[in-house]
Symmetry: C3
């Protein structure tokens, strides 16, 4: 699609050093999918381990495919019908050979954000959705993500025009993902038999994998100071509350702080 | 070996930005070894898990050592006896201090390709070769890879002279690895008791590891669009054929597409 | 803290290309924590798997927090009381906005070295320290590391002034970590029941994780030739000694060579 090129060039100009950095960053962001998969599959019961891992694969397959088909266009399209609510254009993204490297580096970077936003929700739905239903969700969450993300980052977006700046995805990825996650958690209700034995959290099926997942996510973000403070608070508070160190509490404090700092 | 330096400089010139990128890319390609190891060891039966993981370690140890000893020389050597069939020179590669960074960045990049080509074959031999025999294979596969790879990428290569371009290893790594893999699979025949219970694939020993391995490989390549389409076709076809989603089928469609796009 | 900025600028000047490379390298070094965690938790008995993984998390949380609080200042501080034994200044590191990117890239790079030095010791203490005691150790090891590391790398350091060069952490990380590790191993004595069945090493609880950990560490260093030779010697010697290939021996030869080459 020839007009893909001109669309891309309306983004901030990107040189080849930037493209290299964007590709490296995209690799790093993509490893977050491994991290999320291990963390979530380690935290659920053994019998759902494979199920949740495959959900994270579907996030990329279907979330990525739809991002290419219409997500990028809704978020960054600059065709004639573009308005301050959503972009129109650059559907089924393509680029001329001379711009290809930069266009695709930009595309893959934003794609990795979009699939991450979907992955956030999968944790909140863990063990309570069928795989088929999740596939359908995955197809549509691209719309739920891309339109508000365009408000923030697209040149057409009304939040951008009002001067909003979100350079790490605080609102665009985490607030949005968090609200979707909360909505789905409320709709799905607690898992069956969750409170049969009181309020205590269920034991993790595979704590080693959960910790490896947390490490992987941790490595992928260099905003380290927040996580140190978060982890420290987690260490202290889990010990004060329970007289012992709970793996889940500590992991969650580290990751909560990482999200907070974006 | 002083003449190592001059050999290197016959390659395309590489500046320090390129060297940085090559080193980053080599790190990424090296993580593919972790990915292959997890994928293969997760896909075989539990009792062969450690065996196949160690095979992948041997690919790097012996494959890498022989690449340094004679592989690089056969592929890129430009000594007096070089001909259009194979390079001669730069054996036991060394470089003068002033060229060291660039020479070794180039070397490690090509080494990671060479060991990947060997690793492809290890999957096809899984559970049917003794560890000792595999070590011997690993020593010699460097020759099997480096000579044809030199045809494509060495300045002496007859395919290069005919204008062949293969910038992602389509022929040099995947076609070559695939043919070696097929040859070994035919020579080794199916594993014992493979078809005792009909044609259905044997269950994976550790599907979580297999999926983590697939994610790692996926992250390492940024040619993402093909994998999305491949994964999508896999999702649909495994469901249509089996009325359920088979982990192995989906993984294989994603990876097949990634190979296809090189 | 305003004077943080001026401190940073006494380091070698760093441009934005360097900052990109330093951040990439820091990501890579951080993945070593995942590698160490998997290697150590895979090598101990099953019941201590989670314990040792959490120790590695504490290395980053407490080691990182104290590095920010006083470690960096002891190592690189250039305040008025700085002497050839230790730096003073830049405590609770901060930077002016105009220098932020470079200052924090430098900081996170050195932080990853400091936490790695602590992690080296955790392996030597495996299965013989309580989690609480380890947390206290982790807080203080920052001092044990940062003062001697300042001798080598700080502009005030007496070893630096004498012309010592250690560009990969040979003395600063590995010699120091090794001596701390040896000291703690001697203080803690062998684990209970270690020699009940003779001198043979205890079986690994999870060899797959140990190997994945070794791969991760391997990928993180590009000084590959040494590891090939090390692995080769390991392969041969474990076979000659035991008439079989021992996973632990081979892993240790690879990693030993990687340490040796720094």
């Amino acid at each position: 699609m020839a007009n893909g090129t001109t669309k891309i060039s309306t983004l901030d100009p990107v040189n080849s050093d930037d493209a290299t950095w964007i590709l490296t960053a995209s690799f790093v962001i993509f490893t977050m999918q491994t991290g999320f998969g291990l963390l979530e599959s380690g935290a659920v019961t053994k019998k759902n381990e494979v199920n949740i891992m495959m959900k994270n694969a579907v996030d990329i397959i279907l979330g990525g495919l739809t991002y290419w088909m219409y997500g990028y266009g809704l978020q960054y399209g600059t065709g004639p019908w573009t308005n301050s609510f959503c972009g129109v254009g650059s559907f089924f993204l393509d680029a001329e050979p001379e711009d290809m490297g930069i266009a695709f580096a930009t595309f893959i970077f934003h794609l990795s954000f979009a699939t991450t936003a979907t992955t956030i929700v999968s944790g909140a739905m863990a063990e309570r959705t069928s795989f088929n239903a999740y596939c359908v969700f995955s197809l549509f969450n691209t719309v739920t993500y891309c339109i508000p993300a365009g408000w923030l980052w697209g040149s057409h977006g009304f939040l951008k025009k009002m001067g909003a700046i979100d350079f790490a995805g605080s609102a665009g990825v985490h607030l949005l993902g968090g609200v979707s996650a909360l909505t789905s958690a409320i709709m799905l209700k607690p898992r069956l038999r969750r409170y049969d034995n009181g309020l205590d959290p269920l034991p993790m099926g595979n704590p080693i994998n959960a910790i490896v997942g947390a490490f992987t996510l941790w490595a992928a973000v260099t905003t380290i100071n927040a996580s140190l403070a978060g982890g420290f608070v987690g260490l202290i508070s889990t010990y004060v509350k329970n007289r012992k160190f709970l793996v889940g509490d500590i992991i969650n404090s580290i990751l909560g702080a990482l999200v907070g700092v974006t």
